[in-house]
Amino acid sequence: MMEKFIDHFREALDASEGKEIRLEDRFRDYDEWDSLRYLSVIAMIDSEYDVIIETSEFKKIETVGGLIEEIGKRIKT
């Protein structure tokens, strides 16, 4: 899931293919991050994982790894 998520995440951010994304990255510090990317990321997580993260919960997530963890917890099996 991890590698795939990072690809989806990179795409949702509209970042260049070469952009390195690490689990410990604080994604809000990325140059690309803004409110539109935020919407794209919510939409991507919904479409790829059928998971909707409420904004109050999303605010608590700081890193890329944190996002993956949260999705993992909620993923429908």
């Binding site: 409110s35 539109l36 919407l39 794209s40 919510i42 919904d46 479409s47 904004t55 999303f58």
Partner: protein
């Protein structure tokens, strides 16, 4: 819970009116450089918008022009209208009700039932349900639903989270008591916990207008507004809408045992492109069944569903039969879905004023 079937009610006509003044988001420096502007347009879908732009045009004026045109094409006499509902977040005054002003302006009878409903993006759905409830028993025969908003007036031109998204519009929908018709199948829902997600904080009676109301505050880069202007929690509304709207539509289909494949068109409130596309793909609907008007008019609040019908489905609505799902969601938070069938309804060309 939340499901109703108003039988004996049919839609006879729909008209829409927008200001002639067009604003092109591609020229909006608030959004940044040309790449940033393109990104904005790709995400929200909003290329142009029609704005009242300081012309002292109210929602009621746009609705009035739509209604006048519709009544004349329907050959309905104003004195035949038994009830008038005006749905808006931008009424003429805090009091009196704008519906009263419209009753007089349209020359409707004194015996007309007239009232305002304060809703926005879900407003057309709620207005339809309310008129359906009023006329289903045949006491009232003809009803007029006027739904419109001049949302741009309430947005700060320095707020990139709201200003580029919205457009102005007014609409009129004519409904009639028709015994034996399939009527309106309705689902409605509310979650007031999210009341702050879309809000104008000052100027009502909770927070009176006060000297600080006009004070501009910079919330973040490119988001400057005062408390008489709309604050929008975009991601919050996004999450709300992608969860609730598909569930409302699926719930309605299931409750009334309707086949999703037999629905001709799904007309969604035009919130923003990426959001509406999520709803469309979650419901696995083909592109051609989900018309968009947001690229031309922006998010027009309570107008967006009928405006999309008038500008994108006019031929289909006037020439034949249509099975339609309509779904509105937003400020309140409030949402709802209506299934209705139409047959050769009156649908004048878009009115520009």
């Amino acid at each position: 819970m939340g499901f109703q079937h108003f039988k004996n009610v049919t839609v006879k006509g729909i008209a829409a009116c927008v200001p002639s003044n067009v604003f092109d988001n591609r020229k909006l420096s608030l959004l940044g450089n040309s790449d940033q502007i393109q990104k904005y347009i790709d995400t929200t879908g909003v290329v142009t918008r029609h704005l009242v732009n300081g012309r002292n045009l109210c929602s009621s004026d746009l609705c009035f022009h739509a209604a006048a045109k519709l009544l004349s094409e329907l050959n309905w006499r104003p004195d035949e209208i038994d009830c008038l509902l005006f749905v808006s977040q931008t009424p003429d005054y805090i009091m009196p009700a704008t519906a009263c002003i419209l009753q007089e302006k349209l020359g409707l009878a004194h015996e007309c039932f007239a009232m305002d409903i304060s809703l926005g993006c879900s407003g057309w759905i709620y207005g339809m349900a309310a008129i359906g409830a009023l006329i289903q028993n045949g006491g009232f025969k003809k009803g007029l639903l006027l739904a419109g908003d001049t949302s741009t007036v309430t947005k700060s031109p320095k707020d990139k989270s709201t200003y580029p998204l919205f457009g102005d519009g007014g609409t009129a929908t004519a409904l009639e008591y028709t015994e034996g018709s399939s009527g309106l199948m309705v689902h409605t829902a509310t979650d007031g916990k999210g009341y702050k997600a879309i809000i104008i904080p000052d100027g009502g009676f909770r927070n009176f207008y006060n000297p600080d109301s006009l004070k501009e505050v910079e919330y973040e880069d490119g988001i400057v507004r005062n408390n008489l202007q709309t604050s929008l929690d975009g991601p919050g509304v996004f999450v709300f809408a992608i969860s609730k709207a598909p569930r409302s539509i699926n719930g309605l289909l299931e409750h009334f045992d309707l086949d999703i494949n037999k629905v001709d068109y799904f007309i969604l409130h035009q919130a923003n492109k990426i959001l509406n596309e999520r709803i469309r793909t979650k419901l696995r609907l083909p592109v051609e069944k989900v018309p968009y008007s947001i690229e031309e008019f922006g998010n027009t609040s309570s107008s967006s569903i009928p405006l999309t019908m008038v500008t994108r489905l006019r031929q289909q609505l006037t020439k034949g039969q249509c099975k339609l799902i309509t779904c509105g969601f937003g400020v309140g938070l409030s949402w709802g879905t209506i299934y209705l069938e139409t047959e050769k309804i009156t649908c004048p060309e878009l009115v520009l004023v």
